[in-house]
């Protein structure tokens, strides 16, 4: 008899008052008993609707069945047959709009906590230090992957399993991409990312750090001189967007990328124990409403800001961030200034002293299908802030398109690929993730990497 509770087994969390004082993980994870109890809520549907929502095709009911039985190692083997980064996906995937969104149990109550179970299995297995051996038959061909973020890593993992000799080129000093520089420690502990990347190395994947493809070496050189049979480009969307309003270059204005990179990758929260500082004033405005904005706001709070505002031009309903992150942010005291749009940042002696905003109302739906925000005349007011973090999105990094002749891109700079194979306008050069779609989710990027790996395998084996 399944567990017919309409709600998920609660996830133990750090108390909001305590956690705003530290960078430790907020959600603490299930115990074995809690995981089994939650797994028992799964009806093991024959038609597996949850799987249709998973961009990497994790056999969800199968792994949950193993959790029910307490066979965590087997559950881990099932998950990792399709997903090389389960501890990460269990934490940062938008499950509510993917697997869990399609769960039958969601019709009456909450869906099965698929993400929480995936996370549990990965953590449990990691704590035991057990690894799954996979037999790989090398085929002798070399494939290059550009960018060690979610797209590149998942592509590399699958390529390695197909038998290729895979080298991942990473521009930064640490692999992981957005998982390392973007998502904060309190949402995704970096040790886990390192651990899951080390699993990849066990598959024989080589990672070369400090190589900026497009500068250190070009795509053409990888193929013509270095002998790579195919190249996958997963360089993400790392170029910050600006509002193009007055005052954006004042001291005290950060892009979310800079703010989060200082804090996450360079561990500025430990400054001066670590050498890279980050400056957070008393009153911080984060402009934007996505997950990156939530991450920046919650980071600012933890770094000691007194008041942290999310300034977003639409309403709560349109807020693109995950519900769970918004909830966590609210619990931590982040102030939501919705239906507000910045018009200029005000400076004194070159430093931010305020941000003028105008109130908005929602008009007719626009191209995105969301109701368009329209300014309310004469509703301007000044928000008293000394730090502004701009988190209104990123576009693809231009280095590769600037240095790769014949690579077709969209007018906003995204690499154009064929949907089925992720192949670009250049033969044997593939791309996927944010560099193709614009800023999206970790799991969509991973799905693209897997699709490309399969296409590369099929093409090279013809």
């Amino acid at each position: 008899m399944p567990n017919m509770s309409t709600v998920k087994v609660g996830m133990p969390e750090q108390d909001a008052k305590v956690r705003v004082q530290n960078f430790e993980e907020v959600a603490l994870g299930y115990s074995l008993e809690q995981a089994i109890e939650e797994a028992e809520r799964c009806l093991n549907c024959k038609h597996k609707p949850c799987m249709k929502g998973c961009p990497v095709n994790v056999p969800i009911p199968e792994f949950i069945t193993q959790v029910k039985e307490g066979n965590i190692e087997e559950a881990y083997r099932i998950i990792t047959s399709e997903n090389g980064l389960p501890a990460i996906c269990g934490r940062v995937c938008p499950q509510e709009s993917q697997c869990e969104g399609l769960c039958v149990r969601a019709k009456k109550g909450e869906p099965v906590g698929i993400g929480r179970l995936e996370r549990f299995v990965a953590d449990y297995q990691m704590a035991k230090g057990q690894k799954i051996d996979i037999d790989i038959t090398k085929n002798g061909d070399k494939v290059a992957v550009v960018g060690a973020g979610p797209a590149g890593l998942s592509c590399a993992a699958d390529l390695a399993k197909y038998g290729y000799e895979v080298t991942v080129f990473e521009a930064l000093h640490t692999p992981g991409g957005v998982l390392m520089y973007g998502i904060p420690e309190f949402r995704l502990p970096k040790k886990l990312v390192e651990e899951e990347i080390s699993n990849l190395k066990d598959l024989g994947v080589k990672i070369e750090k400090n190589v900026v493809v497009g500068r250190s070496i070009t795509i053409d050189e990888l193929i013509e001189e270095e002998g790579y049979k195919a190249v996958f480009v997963g360089t993400g969307a790392g170029l910050p967007r600006f509002m193009r309003i007055d005052g954006e270059n004042l001291n005290g204005v950060y892009t979310a990328n800079e703010f989060l990179t200082r804090s996450n990758l360079m561990k500025a929260y430990s400054f001066p124990k670590t050498p890279t500082p980050v400056k957070v004033g008393e009153n911080v405005a984060v402009v934007g409403g996505g997950n990156v904005a939530m991450d920046a706001a919650r980071t600012a709070q933890r770094l000691g800001a007194k008041n942290v505002y999310i300034v977003y031009r639409r309403s709560m309903e349109e807020l693109p961030a995950r519900a769970e992150e918004v909830e966590h942010a609210k619990e931590e005291g982040i102030i939501f200034k919705l239906l507000n749009n910045p018009t200029r940042i005000i400076g004194e002696e070159g430093k931010v002293v305020g941000m003028e905003c105008i109130q908005m109302e929602l008009g007719e739906p626009d191209d995105s299908g969301r109701r368009r925000p329209v300014p309310i005349e004469d509703s301007n007011f000044i928000l008293d802030v000394d730090t502004v973090v701009i988190a209104i999105g990123q576009t693809p990094n231009p280095l590769i398109r600037q240095t790769t002749e014949g690579l077709d891109v969209t007018k906003w700079g995204g690499i154009i690929v064929t949907d089925e194979t992720m192949e670009t306008s250049i033969e044997n050069v593939y791309a996927g993730g944010d560099v193709v779609t614009g800023a999206a989710t970790v799991i969509l990027a991973m799905g693209a990497g897997k699709t490309a790996a399969k296409a590369i395998y099929e093409k090279l084996n013809k």
């Binding site: 521009a171 930064l172 000093h173 520089y181 750090k209 400090n210 190589v211 900026v212 500068r215 250190s216 070496i217 790392g238 170029l239 910050p240 600006f242 954006e248 270059n249 001291n251 005290g252 950060y254 892009t255 990328n257 800079e258 990179t261 200082r262 360079m266 561990k267 400054f271 001066p272 670590t274 050498p275 890279t276 500082p277 400056k279 070159g350 990094n397 231009p398 280095l399």
Partner: protein, 277 residues
């Protein structure tokens, strides 16, 4: 890990290192820079490439020991390694086959100026150079520059070498004497580059400068190095670091460079030296 194969102390605060870094050495051109981290958990420090040897796959950098991270770097000796060394970053300088060019280098700014002038000389351009520093001790790469320059002039704050005063005093004299330059390339502390542009702008003399703002990743991601050039926001790491000096908003650069002054931030190492003002 990247091995240090040579190290020279140039003066009391400036040192030179040659490091094995195949990717950088194979590709770098004058005007480009690298980012290094001395050790695990270290800061990312942008530094100019002074020279390179493609056969040996080595790259030579010059740095000023001013902050925590450059002090850490300074502790390294021949045979030691630095943790990370990435590049070449930035755009190569767009060097034109002019007839006559004047290079102006202040303090450690002479380091990035040197490869540009050397290349211009190789292209057949007649090169004059003004080297400046706080005192004679802080003039670097003098012999290297003399190897190709037609005329080398000096200016020091204390008069211990060449003219007592600023590089701009020598510049004004040269222009007053009727010297004609197709372009001036000025690299040094921001205040020096600003002062040079204050002289050249009214005269409409093309003036290239090299900026070294606060920077993290060096690949266009963080946006920390943004500068206003001709009213547009540019990223020094991918659009620069060389820009048309006549169009640069120097006051904004100066302000942004001081953002972490209280934190004794060492990102400014390299060009924003304290030994020349």
């Amino acid at each position: 890990m990247y091995k240090i194969i040579d190290k020279k102390v140039l003066n009391s605060t400036v040192e030179q290192m040659t490091i094995l870094a195949p990717y950088v050495a194979r590709k770098c051109e004058p005007g480009q820079f690298i980012i290094l981290r001395v050790n695990e958990d270290g800061e990312r420090i942008p530094l100019t490439i002074v020279d390179y040897d493609r056969d040996e796959e080595s790259v030579t950098i010059i740095y000023q020991v001013v902050g925590y991270s450059t002090r850490q770097l300074s502790k390294k000796e021949i045979g030691d390694h630095v943790e990370d060394f990435v590049g070449p970053l930035g755009q190569p300088t767009h060097l034109q086959k002019h007839k006559r060019v004047l290079g102006i280098g202040g303090g450690v700014g002479i380091a990035p100026l040197y490869p540009q002038l050397k290349k211009l000389h190789e292209m057949g351009v007649e090169v004059d150079v003004i080297l400046g520093g706080r005192s004679d001790e802080f003039i670097i790469l003098e012999d290297e520059v003399k190897a190709f320059a037609e005329n080398v002039y000096f200016a020091t704050n204390d008069g211990s070498r060449g003219k007592e005063g600023f590089v701009t005093d020598v510049l004004k004299e040269l222009l007053d004497e009727g010297n004609v330059y197709d372009e001036i390339i000025a690299i040094g502390p921001l205040v020096m580059m600003k002062a040079v542009v204050d002289v050249t702008k009214p005269l409409g003399i093309a003036t290239g400068v090299s900026l070294n703002p606060v920077m993290i990743d060096g690949t266009g991601m963080c946006g920390g190095c943004r500068v206003t050039v001709g009213g547009e926001t540019k990223f020094a790491c991918v659009d620069g670091p060389d820009f048309d000096g006549l169009l640069v908003d120097f006051d904004e650069c100066l302000r942004r460079q001081n953002m972490y002054k209280e934190e004794e931030h060492a990102c400014r190492v390299g060009l924003g030296g304290e030994n020349y003002a």
